[in-house]
Each structure stands twice: as structure tokens, then as C-alpha cells.
């Protein structure tokens, strides 16, 4: 195992273990078989969507179209299949085509038209919701029985099928990212796009592909969500936006881009899912779940940030400069002359 990744990306598993333990101490029923089995399918769906968010964050973006893409995937699938087992394949194809197109538009807007990822994904989210409304004509349709049965099933009677799919997708993504030429170049493009460009990597192509692939993961999550709950409300993806961001952040992938770990993100997704299960388990409403999940993000990211602020302020007071946000410093034009390293850092 590579030592340089261990401290950063393994913390989440300790946190996840802790949350199961805390849940057990509060109420032993939160780790009972029935609770865990009702939590796992939603964990699987979140984990799949969170792969996409991880990829976007690694390329220094943030995807706010998660909710729209999940809803679009679910609606495109159920409406196209039209409660008909023969329509499953067509439904999957249409759903994936719709979300891939959305991702392509985002990618082109971000790279060619210099729209910030934030505005681009927010606008695409609105377009996807428009699609959902139009394609569903305002009312939901059920998923075909065959896929519903599959989604409810368990492999070897033990592991829910959705979890199997999630694990397979996570492992494949992880392998592609870490071990292939494309994955390594992808990581470099996110870590330092200018260096990647100077080394001859076509960074823009990688960025466009990122949004397309990420959208495909949201689309898959949407299809599985529909398959599992049979008849999802038409705007079904709303809770997943914060969920994916939280999973990525808790997993340890820096929002400033670069190295990320999909496996650690999966740990983050498990943490968030179990946190949700505990909140419901002790009888609080879903709204309390939101409050706690949001607080978890603020706490984790905030603590990391405060630590750095302290260090930076100490450095800065030594040079009499002012406190500058990381992004603005990075966006400043490079000095034209030999940079004395201690001037700005």
C-alpha cells in the first residue's frame, strides 16, 4: 500500500466505524439487521452518484446538477419503459443518453465558453428539471416489475444487489483512475492543469469527459433509485446533492482538486447513510437528518480550514501581507520575474 495516501483517505473509515458504534450505544436497534438492510440500498445509490461528484471535484469543479440528473435518469427510465419489462433496455438507453447530453453541455459550457462549473451545473440542473416535468407530464410512473424485483433482491441471499452493483462500479472506477494511462493523466489534470497542459496532456478533453461520465453515474443512480422504490416522486433526487458533496468532502478529497479517492468517498457515503439511519432510528424526522448531515460537513471542512488559517496567518504576519483566500492567490497571474518564494506564501 502506498504510504502517502493512507493518512488522508483512511480517516473516514475510522469515522464510519465510530458512527456505527455511537449508533449502537444510543440505540442498539440502529445496527440491527432490519435497519442495516433498509439503509444499504440507499447507501448504494448515494455511493454511485458520489463517484461522479468525486470525478468533478478532482477536476476542480463542483456539480450542482446531481439532483436534476438523478430525477431525469429515473423519469426517463420509468416513462420510456412504461411499466413494461421489455422496455427496460430502451429505458436505460434513453435515460443514459439524456444525462450524458446534459453532461456534455456542461463540459462544453465550462471549457469552451468559460462558464464557471457552478453556474453551468446550476443552469443544467434547471434544464434537467424542465425535462423531468415535460417528459413525466407531471405524474410519476412505476418501474417495470423485473427490475424492481432485481433491485429488491440479494446476491446469495445476503448482499443486496444494489450494493453489489455499487461495489463493482466503485472498484472499476478506482482501478481505472489509479492504474491506467487515462486515469493517471486525469488525476494530473486535476492536480495541476497548467502543468498537465505543459506536459502535452489535452486537459480540455479530459474536463469535458469528466462532466459526461459524472452525469452517467448520476443517471445510473436515478435508474436504480426508480427500480428500488418502484414509483419515485418525479423530483426524486433532491437529497442527493448534499449527500454526494458530503461523501466527497468527508472522504478527504480536497475541493481544490487533484488527488481523490473513490473508495474513501464510498466510506463517506456509508457514514452519511448510517448517520441518517441513526437520526431516523431515534425517532427524529427526516428534516433533522438534513440538519445533522449539514453540520457534519461544516464541522469537518471547517476544522480542516481553521487549522490552515492559523498556519497561514502566522506565515503572513511574518511578511506583513494580508490574508488571501486560497483561490484568489492561485488565480493571480504568475509574476513575470523570478519569484522569490517567500513573497507570497
Amino acid at each position: 500500500m502506498r504510504s502517502w495516501r493512507l493518512p488522508r483517505f483512511s480517516g473516514i473509515w475510522l469515522g464510519t466505524a465510530a458512527i456505527f458504534l455511537i449508533g449502537f450505544l444510543i440505540n442498539p436497534r440502529t445496527v440491527s439487521e432490519s435497519t442495516v438492510y433498509s439503509m444499504l440500498p440507499f447507501f448504494a445509490i448515494l455511493a454511485i452518484a458520489a463517484i461522479g461528484q468525486t470525478l468533478v471535484v478532482m477536476q476542480r469543479g463542483l456539480d450542482l446538477s446531481v439532483a436534476g440528473a438523478i430525477a431525469a435518469g429515473a423519469v426517463a427510465f420509468t416513462k420510456t419503459a412504461n411499466v413494461n419489462d421489455e422496455g427496460i433496455v430502451a429505458g436505460i438507453v434513453v435515460a443514459l443518453a439524456v444525462v450524458a447530453l446534459a453532461g456534455l453541455i456542461t463540459g462544453i459550457a465550462v471549457t469552451r465558453f468559460h462558464v464557471t462549473p457552478l453556474v453551468a451545473t446550476l443552469a443544467i440542473n434547471a434544464l434537467l428539471l424542465a425535462f423531468v416535468n415535460w417528459y413525466s407530464r407531471g405524474f410519476p410512473t412505476g418501474a417495470p416489475d423485473a427490475i424492481n424485483q432485481f433491485a429488491l433482491g440479494r446476491a446469495l441471499g445476503l448482499v443486496p444487489n444494489l450494493v453489489v452493483i455499487a461495489i463493482v462500479l466503485v472498484l472499476i472506477s478506482h482501478f481505472l483512475l489509479r492504474s491506467t494511462v487515462i486515469g493517471r493523466r486525469f488525476t494530473a489534470s486535476g492536480e495541476n492543469p497548467r502543468a498537465a497542459r505543459a506536459a502535452g496532456i489535452p486537459v480540455i478533453r479530459y474536463q469535458v469527459a469528466t462532466y459526461v461520465i459524472a452525469s452517467l453515474f448520476y443517471g445510473v443512480a436515478g435508474i436504480l433509485l426508480a427500480a428500488f422504490i418502484k414509483t419515485p416522486p418525479i423530483f426524486s433526487g433532491t437529497t442527493y446533492l448534499l449527500g454526494t458533496v458530503a461523501a466527497v468532502v468527508l472522504g478527504g478529497t480536497a475541493l481544490t482538486g487533484g488527488i481523490g479517492s473513490i473508495i474513501a468517498t464510498t466510506g463517506g457515503a456509508l457514514f452519511m447513510s448510517q448517520l441518517g439511519a441513526i437520526v431516523l432510528g431515534i425517532g427524529l424526522p427526516t428534516s433533522a437528518q438534513q440538519v445533522l448531515q449539514a453540520s457534519a460537513i461544516i464541522l469537518v471542512v471547517g476544522l480542516r480550514g481553521v487549522y490552515w488559517t492559523g498556519a497561514r496567518d502566522r506565515l503572513r504576519s511574518m511578511f506583513g501581507g494580508t490574508n488571501v483566500q486560497a483561490e484568489t492567490a492561485a488565480a493571480a497571474p504568475p509574476p513575470r520575474t523570478a519569484p522569490p518564494p517567500s513573497d507570497s506564501s
Binding site: A126, L127, N192, G258, T309, Q325, A338
Partner: protein
């Protein structure tokens, strides 16, 4: 000497940067009323010395006195207060603010007058330069050369007692240089002093009273101008002790002339250089020299495909595709960047990943990188280049500069390039590693590659290169071959070049396209377009359905518009600082929910307040909630350094969750007095919309005409420059989040008026709509620019679009569609227009 006549004195100053001693025990004194030139070659320490004087760099030891006051710690603000103004090579201007606003912010209040007169005042300061610079133009839209003139004019306007000019003539034409000299002399007449840093000895001879020469971080003496000749100065600058050992050069230089050239560059022109031709033999090292900023850097980078260029480049008789780094790399042209941190290193990644980045395909089978082959090749390079690293897995940030640079050279070597372009290959590298880097570069050449080295170290060029091209103001002015490649000859050619910049300012065409682009980029361009869109949509709607144009419909639409305007105005305040607030919608809903427990006619079972008591308590509580939420957002962004999106998204979900927790379903009847007040109309116009427009006009006035507005935009445009100007960036940004949240109280009252009950989800759609409205109104999401009138019209456009779709009996998906398309389209148009910068 009379101590009162000493304007600036530095005593025994030393400064070391990692790997380099920049200054060694330097003392430097400037008298009042003199023009004192500071000359020296590249890297002599001139800029570092003046950085210390200006308080932006802290010395390791030594003492700085300005006007007799001792500087106790490095502080640019303190140095400025003491009367020192510095003009650097890259101007400290706020890109999104106008020329007049920049000059106004940079000058002490007693000199500048009100902002209202800033334009006229700036025009007066700029007039003597004889260049038409409109004080209303944004800095980002000016060419670098004009930015420089603005920066100099600003510095002179401060009426400094010491004016420091760092290479001021690099970007100027001959008449402008005359103008500059006249102004500099005027500063001296006034009794001020000028420190004039330059490489250009003929210019120094024209202007200076005294001259101090720096070499290798030490002074070589201070001289009366009349007492030294140009030749004397050149002799003082050159002649550094050579302690480095260079590998032997190519033995048979004469014979090599006959072999076919590897690369032929023909009449290549780009930003900063024009008409450059050269050829490169296999096995040859060609140096590029010249005073910093004369086009040699841009030329080299254009060969790597990283800077735009036109002309032709042939590699082994094949024409290369310009402006495409991937194509260049695939053709075998490999580039070693100067700025390692910014453009070469993957700082958080291991040595191995850093080294193999350029050659992954070589180690791959079916697209999968073979770890063993990769590790083997990397180990080979670590051994042969003697790279000191604990292991291949070590993060590269842990290595010394010299070893990092060797890893970068190994990255290039693994790709087996035919042409290696090296930009300042030994910068920030210790002496030992330097020798090895020379050996590595010569080794590549001996292996048959062509090497181009750009260096500002003439000794390095002398020791390493077979041939050297000297650049001055964008052209090659001298070529030195073989034995003629000496430090002295290179320095002399660069220092004594009198080549002047060509400028096509006058010929800069104002085509219809650029005029349209300028209009779109302006503060109010988007507003005009939006107003037009609103009217056209209205006409269309009336044509389809005449009931659109009734007072009844209009009153209702305006009521809705008021709410969206409030939210958009708040959003814009935050966006001007370069942030974003995703919590506006949730907060609005939350405030309405809280109010629905207290600002009621029928007391709630738990709270028990109603009527006037409820109204007062409720107001206090919701204002407190709003300010607290804003403060939380601001602190998370500025103090905990969380990206604004994530911070406000999390706060949004938390606040939304709380609202839902309090009221899982809508309920709680708001005081009828309040809802009636909100719905009051003057004629058919709701008072709410009058209030909203009043707020817009007030904020627009503050934004353009008050220091608060300028400082807000300055903080968003460049927090770093704003901080250097003494603007309290943190206070402005956190204040912006608080003000934004406070305005959500008004938005929440609009909601209460519309719905009459507390509904947690009622505000949700406002978040996206407010961002859409602000972006439509032309605000930049990066901060620094935008207008409240634009935000108002953006909100009106969205409202109009929604109304029209409902009048056309389209379903609600059309609303989403319009919102998404308008936002995306507007962002694409504005961003693209802004991205094309003016070049000159």
C-alpha cells in the same frame, strides 16, 4: 552629510531565498531631491532591495529608514504612509475597477476629493502622457503598457517623497519615455527623490544624478553620473566570479554547420515578439538571452505550443501545428517550465507520478500502466541523475528545489524528446545540482536532441551554449556563435540595445464586433439588453392574450417581482466579493416559518405571543437569525476558508432542515396587518416594489459613489491587491454575507404576504432564480463587477418569462427551461466576451 537630507536609507541589508543569496550586507542611501539609479544585471538583487524598502519583503537582517523613521517590521501600508510609492513590473491594480476608481483608491483622501470628481481628476493626472486613456475604462480592458502608465500616474499623484520605479521603460515607447523623464524630473523639482531601477544604461545616463551598481547581491559602489561612462558601468555590472564547472561544448562546431538542421523556425510572431527566425542543429545547445521582458520567454513558450503564435516551425522537415501543446509534445518537442510550482510539479503527488507523467504510454500495455516497468525506469533516472529522494513514493513537495528540477528533467528525458526547450533550468537550484543539470542538458544534446535554453544568467549561457540569440523588445538583435559566446558580449548586447518597441495602438481597429463586445462587457450593457427582452416579451404576450396588459395582472406580477428583487440584490452583494450564497432561499423560508409562530394574531400554544408584542419580539428574533446566518456564512468562508459554495450549501441544508423540523407542513397564520401591509398598493403598484426599487437605487449609488462600494468591488476583484491598498477585506466580505442575509428578512415578508402562512419550502426556488437574475444582469461570479440595476432587470426578465409562459398556457417545465437556458446563455455570452482580452 546632513541626516535630514536622507530620504531613504537601507543599512546592512541581507536576504536569502532557498538556494540563493539575494542580498549580502547591502547599504543604500537616497538623498532628498535626487534621481538615484540602481543598475545591475538579471538577478543582481535590485528588485529584492526595493521590495524590502517598500515593506513587501522582510529582510533577514539590516535596517530600513524612510524619511528618518525606522521601519520596525515589513509593512507595505506603513511604507506608503511614510511617503514611499513603488511602481512594480506587474502593476498593483484592481482589474475589474475603472482607471479612475483605481487611482482614487490608491491616493490619500486629502489629495483626491470625492469620487464624483474622480473621473475628472484622473483625466488631469493622465493628460500629460498624451495617450487617450478614458478614466472610465476597466483596467482589465487596458493593454499592459497602458496599465503601466496608469500605475506610474497613480504613484506620482500620491505626491510621494520617494518614488521607486522598477524597470519603468520596458513597456514604453520613445515619446512616452520622454514624458516619463519629464515627470520624474518634476518630482525632483518638488523636492522628492526617485529611485530608478533599470537594466538600460543609455536611459540611466540620461536621467540619473547618481548611480549605484549592484552585482550578485552586493553593491559595487555609488557614483556621480558625470563621473562614469557607459563602458565603466558595463564593466562594473559584468565580471562575476565563475565558480561553476561546465561540461565541454560540442567539439566540432564548424563541421556541424553543414549537417541538416533539426528544427527551423521561420518568421514566428506572437505576443511580445515578432519576426523571429532561427534554426537548431541536432546536438546543439542554443541560448536565448536578453533583458527580462523582451519577448524571449514568449518565443520559447510559443515553441512549446503554450503561447499563441503565427509563422512556421519545421521539425525534421515536417510542419508543426502551432498553439497546440499536445501536438508539439507528440511531435517530440518537450518543454521544461520556469515556474516549477505553477506549471511543472504535481506537488501533492509522489516522485514517481511526477516523473512518468510525460511517458505513461511507454509503460502501458492495453492502456494499463505496468507498475514494474514504470518503477524500473524511474529508479534508473533517480540513479543516473543522482536525485536525492527517500523513495519513489515520496511526495515531490518534500524534495529540495534542485532535486525537484532533476525530476522534471527526468520527466522530459523519459519521453525521449527530439527538441528540449528549457526555461531558466537552474533557477532556485543550489550550486551542486546546477553542475549536474548542465551535465544533463549537455547529455541530451550529445544524444542527438536539439536543446534551447532560456536563461537570465549570462555566465550560464556562456558556459553552456554553442550559440546565443539576444532579444531586445521582441526581436533578435544579435547572434553570438562559438568563441564569441561570452558573458561580456551577451551583457553588452542586451544592455546597450536601443531597439524601441513598435506599437500599433493608433491602428487598433474599433470594428463593429469589438464595439459590441465592449458594450456587452460594460456595466450597463446587459441591462439594456434585458430591458429590451422584457418589452418584447410583453408585446408578444399582449398580442397572444390581451388580458396580459391589465392593471390586475401587472399588480400581481410586480408583487412577485419585489420578492425576487430582494433576494437577487442580496445575492449580488455577496457575488461582488467573489462569493456566492446558496442559502438565500432556505433562509427566506426559515424566517417566514419562525415568523409564523410569533408574528401572528392567534398566539401559538408554545410561544404564546401575538399582536404588537409578537411583532416586536418576532422582528428582533428574525433579524437576529438573519444576521447570525450571514455571520456564519462569512466566517466559514473567510476564517475557516471553506469554498463559498460548500459553506453556503451546507448552511442552506441545515437552515432548510430546521425550518422543516419546526413546520413539517405549512401552517401558522401570519398577522393580517402584516400581510395587508405587504399587499398595499399605490394605484396598481405595490408599495413593496417601490421599496425594492428604492433599495436597488440606494445600493447602486453606494456601489459606485461611496468608498464602501469601491472597497466591496476591490475585495472581490483581487483580495490580494485590495489588502495591499489597506482595504479591510475580511470585514467587507463578512459584512457582505451579513447584509445579504439581512435583506432576506424583507424577502421573507414578501413571502408571508403572498402565502399568509409559514411554509419551509416556500423560499427554495429563490436560490437558483437569484443567481440566474444576477448572472443575467451581467455580474461576474468571480467578483468585482456587477450592478444592482442589472440584478433588478435580471429579476424582472425572469419574472416576465414566467408570467408570459403562464399566459401562453405552457406548463411549469417551460419556466425551468427558460430559467436554465437564460442563465446558461447569458453566462456563456458574458464569460466569452470577457475572456477575450485586449492585447497590445
Amino acid at each position: 552629510m546632513d541626516p535630514a537630507r536622507i530620504a531613504l536609507s537601507l543599512t546592512g541589508v541581507s536576504k536569502t531565498f532557498p538556494g540563493v543569496v539575494a542580498l549580502r550586507d547591502v547599504s543604500f542611501e537616497v538623498e532628498a531631491g535626487e534621481i538615484h539609479a540602481l543598475v545591475g544585471g538579471n538577478g543582481a538583487g535590485k528588485s529584492t532591495l526595493m521590495g524590502i524598502a517598500a515593506g513587501s519583503t522582510s529582510p533577514d537582517s539590516g535596517r530600513v529608514e524612510i524619511g528618518g523613521e525606522v521601519m520596525l517590521s515589513a509593512s507595505p501600508v506603513r511604507a506608503r504612509q511614510l511617503g514611499l510609492a513603488i511602481v512594480r513590473q506587474n502593476p498593483a491594480l484592481l482589474p475589474d475597477l475603472s482607471v479612475a476608481e483605481n487611482m482614487w483608491l490608491g491616493v490619500r483622501p486629502q489629495l483626491r476629493g470625492g469620487i464624483g470628481a474622480a473621473g475628472e481628476w484622473a483625466r488631469r493626472q493622465l493628460q500629460p502622457w498624451g495617450i487617450p486613456i478614458d478614466p472610465g475604462t476597466r483596467i482589465v480592458d487596458l493593454s499592459l503598457h497602458r496599465q503601466f502608465i496608469v500605475e506610474i500616474a497613480k504613484a506620482i499623484a500620491i505626491e510621494p517623497s520617494i518614488l521607486v520605479l522598477d524597470e519603468p521603460t520596458e513597456h514604453l515607447t520613445a515619446p512616452e519615455i520622454d514624458q516619463l523623464f519629464e515627470r520624474v524630473r518634476a518630482v525632483r523639482e518638488r523636492g522628492g527623490s526617485v529611485v530608478y531601477i533599470s537594466h538600460r544604461i543609455p536611459e540611466v545616463k540620461r536621467i540619473a544624478d547618481r548611480i549605484t551598481v549592484l552585482r550578485d547581491g552586493e553593491t559595487r559602489g555609488t557614483y556621480e553620473n558625470a563621473a562614469v561612462s557607459e563602458d565603466d558601468i558595463v564593466r562594473l555590472i559584468v565580471g562575476r566570479a565563475v565558480e561553476t564547472v561546465f561540461p565541454p561544448k560540442r567539439a566540432d562546431a564548424a563541421e556541424a554547420e553543414e549537417t541538416a538542421p533539426l528544427m527551423i523556425v521561420d518568421e514566428l510572431s506572437g505576443d511580445g515578439f515578432s519576426g523571429v527566425s532561427m534554426s537548431l542543429q541536432p546536438g546543439e545547445i542554443v541560448g536565448l538571452a536578453g533583458v527580462e521582458g523582451n519577448g524571449q520567454r514568449e518565443f520559447l513558450r510559443s515553441l512549446a505550443g503554450l503561447e499563441p503564435a503565427r509563422g512556421s516551425v519545421l521539425l525534421a522537415d515536417r510542419s508543426l501545428k502551432l498553439n497546440d501543446p499536445t501536438a508539439m509534445r507528440n511531435a517530440g518537442v518537450s518543454y521544461l517550465p520556469q515556474d516549477r510550482q505553477a506549471e511543472a510539479l504535481l506537488l501533492n503527488m509522489p516522485v514517481r507520478d511526477n516523473m512518468s507523467l510525460g511517458s505513461l504510454a511507454i509503460f502501458a500495455r492495453l492502456g494499463v500502466v505496468q507498475r514494474r516497468a514504470e518503477a524500473h525506469a524511474v529508479a534508473g533516472q533517480i540513479g543516473s541523475l543522482d536525485i536525492k529522494t527517500p523513495s519513489q513514493e515520496t511526495e515531490i513537495r518534500a524534495l529540495s528545489g534542485g532535486n525537484q528540477q532533476k525530476v522534471m528533467l527526468a520527466r522530459n528525458a523519459l519521453g525521449e524528446p527530439r527538441v528540449l526547450l528549457a526555461e531558466e533550468p537552474t533557477q532556485g537550484v543550489d550550486a551542486g545540482a546546477r553542475v549536474e543539470i548542465y551535465r544533463i542538458l549537455r547529455g541530451s544534446a550529445d544524444g542527438g536532441a536539439g536543446v534551447v535554453v532560456l536563461s537570465s544568467d549570462e555566465i550560464e549561457l556562456e558556459g553552456l551554449c554553442d550559440r546565443v540569440l539576444i532579444f531586445s523588445r521582441g526581436r533578435v538583435v544579435r547572434e553570438l556563435v562559438g568563441p564569441a559566446v561570452t558573458e561580456h558580449k551577451i551583457q553588452e548586447a542586451a544592455l546597450r540595445a536601443t531597439q524601441l518597441r513598435e506599437r500599433q495602438d493608433a491602428a487598433m481597429e474599433r470594428t463593429g464586433r469589438t464595439r459590441l463586445r465592449d458594450f456587452v462587457r460594460g456595466d450597463y450593457g446587459p441591462s439594456v439588453i434585458l430591458a429590451l427582452a422584457i418589452v418584447l416579451l410583453g408585446i408578444y404576450a399582449t398580442w397572444v392574450n390581451p388580458s396580459y396588459l391589465t392593471e390586475r395582472n401587472f399588480g400581481g406580477v410586480l408583487q412577485l417581482l419585489a420578492a425576487l428583487t430582494f433576494v437577487s440584490v442580496g445575492q449580488l452583494i455577496v457575488m461582488l466579493t467573489g462569493g456566492i450564497d446558496l442559502s438565500v432561499g432556505a433562509l427566506t423560508g426559515f424566517i417566514a416559518v419562525v415568523a409564523s409562530f410569533i408574528i401572528v394574531d392567534q398566539p401559538d400554544r408554545v410561544i404564546g405571543l401575538a399582536g404588537t408584542a409578537g411583532l416586536v419580539a418576532g422582528l428582533v428574533l428574525i433579524i437576529g437569525i438573519a444576521l447570525g446566518t450571514g455571520l456564519l456564512n462569512g466566517l466559514l468562508v473567510r476564517k475557516a476558508l471553506i469554498t463559498p459554495v460548500v459553506a453556503t450549501l451546507a448552511v442552506s441544508i441545515a437552515v432548510g432542515g430546521l425550518a422543516l423540523w419546526l413546520r413539517p407542513t405549512p401552517g401558522g397564520l401570519i398577522q393580517s396587518g402584516v400581510t395587508e401591509l405587504v399587499r398595499t398598493r399605490v394605484g396598481f403598484i405595490p408599495i413593496a416594489v417601490i421599496l425594492a426599487i428604492g433599495l436597488v437605487l440606494l445600493l447602486e449609488f453606494l456601489l459606485r459613489r461611496r468608498a464602501w462600494g469601491l472597497e466591496l468591488r476591490a475585495s472581490g476583484s483581487s483580495a490580494e491587491v485590495a489588502g495591499r491598498l489597506g482595504i479591510p477585506v475580511n470585514r467587507r466580505v463578512i459584512g457582505a454575507y451579513m447584509l445579504c442575509s439581512l435583506i432576506m428578512v424583507l424577502a421573507a415578508f414578501m413571502l408571508m404576504g403572498q402565502i399568509g402562512v409559514g411554509d419551509a419550502s416556500s423560499g427554495v426556488s429563490y436560490t437558483l432564480a437569484s443567481i440566474g437574475a444576477v448572472v443575467l444582469g451581467g455580474a461576474s461570479i468571480f467578483g468585482g463587477r456587477g450592478s444592482f440595476i442589472g440584478a433588478l432587470l435580471g429579476a424582472a426578465t425572469l419574472q416576465q418569462a414566467t408570467t408570459v409562459t403562464s399566459f401562453l398556457r405552457l406548463d411549469s417545465s417551460a419556466t425551468f427551461l427558460l430559467l436554465g437556458l437564460l442563465t446558461l446563455g447569458a453566462a456563456a455570452i458574458y464569460s466569452t466576451a470577457r475572456h477575450t482580452r485586449v492585447r497590445a
